[in-house]
Amino acid sequence: MSVALDITLCALVLGVGWATVAGHGVFRAVIFFITYGLLLAIVWARLGAYDVALAEAAISAGLTGVLLLAAHGRLRRLNASQEVPLHLNLPAAVVAVGIAAGLGWAWFALPAPTAPDLSQALPQSGVGNPVTAVLLNFRAWDTLLESVILLAALLGLWMLARDHAWDKPLGLPYHARPGGVLASFGRVLPPIGLIFGVYLVWAGADTTGGAFQGGTVLAAVCLVTIMAGVLHAPRVEQAAWRAALVLGPGVFVLSGIAGAVFAQGFLALPPALAKPAIVTIEAALTVSIAVTLVLLVIGPPDEGEQDA
C-alpha cells in the first residue's frame, strides 16, 4: 500500500516541478514552486526525516516562496515580470538529461552503505535528537558558518540600497487598514506563533525541531506583526536590531573559544555541560536567525514607490 502512496507522491512532485519550469508566466512558476516545496516536505516525512521535512516546509517552501512572491510583486510594478514563451532548447535538454541520467546511474552504482557509527558518540552529545547532536555538537563549525552565511546574505542585500535611502526604514512602507482584517490578525497570531516557535526550538533537543525551524516560525510571526503595522520596520542605525543580528553567531564563537580554553578543544562541549551549552547556543541562534530572516524578507532600506 505505501509504495502506491510513494508513487503518487513522486508523480505529483515531478508534475508540479514540470509545471514550475514549463508553465507560462513567472507568477505561475512561483505559486507552483511553493506547492512543490510543500509536496516535497511530505516526501521527507515519508522518508522519516521529520527535521528535514519541517525545514523544507518552513524555509524552502515558506520563506523562499514569500521572497519570490514579494519580488514578483515588485517586478510587476516595475513592469519587468513579462517573459518570452518557452521554446524547446535542445542543448539545454541534452545537458539536463545527461546530468539526471548520470545521477540515476550513480544511484545503482553506489556500494553498500557505510554510515559512520554514532552509537557511542551520541550519549556524550548532550541531546536526544541525533540531528541536533550533529548540527550543534559534532559538526558545530558547519552550523556556525551557516549562521554567518545568513548574516552575509543580509549584508549583501543592504548593499543594494540606494545611498540617499540608507537612513530610511527597511523595506517598503506597509499600510494595513487600521482595525482591518490584517491589523487584527497581526494581534491574534503573535501569541500563538511565539509559543509554537519557542516550543519548536526547545523540543529540538529531543524530538523534531531546532533553531532554524523555530527561528523561521518566529520570523514569520514577526513579519505578520510588521505588515499589520503593530511593529514598525527598523532602520539600519538602530543598534538593538544589529546587536540581535550578531548575537547568535557571536555566542557560538565565544562558546567555541570557551571550549578551547576550558574543555579540550575549539567548539568542544564537555558531556556534563553539553545540554545547557547547546540550549544557550540554540536560544541565541534562534534570536539571530529570526531577526535575520525578517530583515531578509523585508529587504534593503527603501523610501517607497516614488522611485519606480
Binding site: 554567518v148 544589529r242 557571536g250 578543544g265
Partner: protein, 489 residues
C-alpha cells in the same frame, strides 16, 4: 593549535563588532581585528615551520563524525599571503571606503564583508571536510558578490548578478559531487577518502566537483563573469576579488586531485585541465590586449594568470614512477598563486589610486601619472615584472620551476605555453606602462597621501622579494606536501 583557532575566530569577531558597534567605533574595531588576524596568520606560519602540519579535530570528534582542520605548508603560506593582501586592502580602504568618501552605505558594508571574506578564506585553506568546504565556498561567494554590488552602479549590479549565477551553478555542481562521495563512502574527510576503496561512482563525483570548482575559479570556458565583476567593484574590493577569491576554489581543486582522489587522475583528464589552462592563458592575454580601461586589463590578466596554475596537473603528473621534477612543478604552481596574489592586489590598489586622483582609469587619461605619483608608477612596474615572470620576481621562480619540470618530463608543449603567456603578459602590460611612464606632465591630479601610495608599493616589493628569497618559501611549501605531488599523479 591556538594560532589556527585565532586565525578563524578573530576576523569573525571583528566582523560582528564592525556590524554591531556604533558608527565611529566600526573602522577602528575592523582595523584592530585585521591587525590581530595578520599576527595570527604569521604565528601559524611560524608554528607550522617549527613543528610541521598542525591538525585539529573540531569539538574533539574524529573525522568520520566531526570535522578536521589541518594547516600544512600550503595552507599556512596561502594564509600569510591572504593576511598581507587583506591588511594592505584594509589600510587602502581607510582612505577610499571611508563613510565620508564612499557614502554611509559602502562605509558600513565594506568592513564586515571584508572580514567575513578573510575568515572564510582562512577556513578554506585549512578545512579537510568536503561539505564544510561547500559551506565555506558559498560564504565566500555571498561576500564576494556583495563586495561587487557595493559600488551601486547599474553595471555593477548586472555583473554581481551574473557572478552569483555562475557561482551558484558551480556550487551546485560541487554539491552534487559531495553528495555522491558521501553516499558511496560514508565519509567526507580528505585523508579518509585517500584511503578509501574506489567505487565506480567516484569518477562521476570527482568530475562534478571539478566542473563546479572550475566554474568558481573562472577557468577559460567559464571566465565570462570575472572581468566585469572584478572591474565593476570598488578598487579595494577588486583587489580582494582578483587576488584571493579564485585561489580558494583552486586550492580545493588541488586538494581533491592531489590528496583526496589521486588514483583517479587519468592522463586524459590531466591533459584537458592543462589545455583549458593553456587556452585561458592565451585567451585572457588577447582580451587584455583589447581593453582600454586599466581595471579591465588587470581583470583579464587574472583570467590569464590563473591559467598557468592548471599546468601543474600534467607536469606534476608525469607518467608514473618517482619523477624528480614533480615536486618542482607543484611548488612552482603554488609560487605562481602566491606571487600573482600579491602583484594583482598591488595593481588594483594602484588603479584605485588613479581613479581617485584622475577620476577615470582610461589609459588615455593616465598619461604621465608616474611623474605625478612616482610611488604608484614604481609599484605598477614591479607588479608587472612579476606578472610577466621576469627575474628576479616570484613569478619568474614559478615559471622557472614549471618550465624545468616541462622540459625534464619531455612535455615541451607546456613550456611553449609558459613562454607565449609571458610574451602576451609583456604585450598587454606594455600599454599601461607606456601610458603611466609617458613624458608628458599629467594634468594636476588630486593630492594622494604618501602613506596611501606606499601600500601597493609594499605589496609589489613583497611579490618581487618572493623571487629573491625563494629558498625559505620553497622549503616551507614542502611541509606536509601530499605524496602524489612528490612522485606525480
Amino acid at each position: 593549535m591556538t594560532a589556527l583557532v585565532a586565525g578563524l575566530t578573530l576576523p569573525l569577531l571583528a566582523a560582528f563588532a564592525a556590524i554591531a558597534l556604533p558608527m565611529r567605533a566600526r573602522v577602528p574595531a575592523a582595523l584592530l581585528g585585521a591587525g590581530l588576524t595578520l599576527a595570527a596568520s604569521l604565528w601559524l606560519a611560524v608554528v607550522v615551520w617549527q613543528t610541521g602540519p598542525v591538525t585539529l579535530s573540531l569539538g574533539g570528534w574524529q573525522p568520520p563524525i566531526g570535522i578536521a582542520l589541518r594547516a600544512d605548508g600550503l595552507g599556512a603560506a596561502l594564509g600569510v599571503m591572504t593576511a598581507l593582501v587583506m591588511t594592505a586592502v584594509a589600510l587602502a580602504a581607510r582612505h577610499e571606503m571611508a563613510a565620508s568618501v564612499a557614502g554611509p552605505r559602502a562605509g558600513f558594508g565594506f568592513w564586515p564583508l571584508m572580514l567575513l571574506l578573510w575568515a572564510t578564506m582562512n577556513a578554506a585553506f585549512v578545512s579537510r571536510d568536503l561539505f564544510n568546504l561547500y559551506v565555506v565556498l558559498e560564504l565566500i561567494t555571498l561576500s564576494a558578490v556583495a563586495l561587487v554590488a557595493i559600488s551601486g552602479k547599474a553595471e555593477a549590479i548586472a555583473a554581481a548578478l551574473r557572478y552569483l549565477l555562475f557561482a551558484l551553478a558551480g556550487s551546485l555542481l560541487y554539491l552534487a559531487g559531495v553528495v555522491l562521495t558521501y553516499a558511496a563512502h560514508g565519509t567526507l574527510d580528505i585523508s579518509l577518502l585517500a584511503a578509501r576503496m574506489a567505487a565506480p561512482s567516484d569518477a562521476l563525483a570527482l568530475g562534478l566537483m571539478t566542473a563546479g570548482l572550475l566554474v568558481k575559479t573562472a577557468l577559460f570556458p567559464f571566465h565570462v563573469w570575472l572581468p566585469h565583476a572584478h572591474s565593476a567593484a570598488p578598487a579595494p574590493a577588486s583587489a580582494l576579488l582578483s587576488a584571493l577569491v579564485p585561489k580558494a576554489s583552486l586550492l580545493i581543486l588541488l586538494r581533491l586531485w592531489f590528496e583526496a582522489m589521486p588514483d583517479l587522475a587519468a592522463p586524459a583528464a590531466l591533459l584537458t585541465l592543462a589545455s583549458l589552462g593553456a587556452m585561458a592563458v592565451i585567451w585572457g592575454g588577447l582580451l587584455a590586449l583589447a581593453q582600454a580601461r586599466l581595471k579591465l586589463i588587470v581583470a583579464y590578466s587574472t583570467v590569464a594568470q590563473l591559467g598557468y596554475i592548471f599546468l601543474v596537473f600534467p607536469l606534476a603528473g608525469g607518467d608514473g614512477g618517482a619523477q624528480v621534477w614533480a615536486a618542482g612543478a607543484w611548488t612552482g604552481a603554488i609560487f605562481q598563486t602566491l606571487s600573482h596574489g600579491l602583484a594583482k592586489a598591488a595593481m588594483f590598489l594602484v588603479a584605485g589610486i588613479y581613479l581617485v586622483a584622475m577620476g577615470s582609469d582610461r589609459l588615455s587619461d593616465l598619461r604621465g601619472m608616474a611623474r605625478a605619483l612616482p610611488m604608484t608608477g614604481f609599484a605598477f612596474a614591479l607588479a608587472s615584472i612579476t606578472l610577466m615572470g621576469l627575474p628576479p620576481s616570484g613569478g619568474f621562480t614559478a615559471k622557472y620551476l614549471l618550465m624545468t619540470a616541462a622540459f625534464a618530463s619531455g612535455q615541451w608543449a607546456w613550456a611553449l605555453v609558459l613562454a607565449a603567456g609571458g610574451l602576451l603578459a609583456a604585450a598587454y602590460l606594455y600599454r599601461p606602462l607606456a601610458a603611466i611612464f609617458a613624458r608628458e606632465s599629467a594634468v594636476a591630479p588630486r593630492a594622494i597621501p604618501r602613506s596611501w601610495q606606499a601600500i601597493p608599493l609594499g605589496l609589489a616589493v613583497l611579490s618581487v622579494a618572493l623571487g629573491l628569497l625563494s629558498s625559505v618559501p620553497f622549503e616551507f611549501l614542502q611541509i606536509g606536501r601530499p605524496d602524489p605531488a612528490a612522485e606525480g599523479l
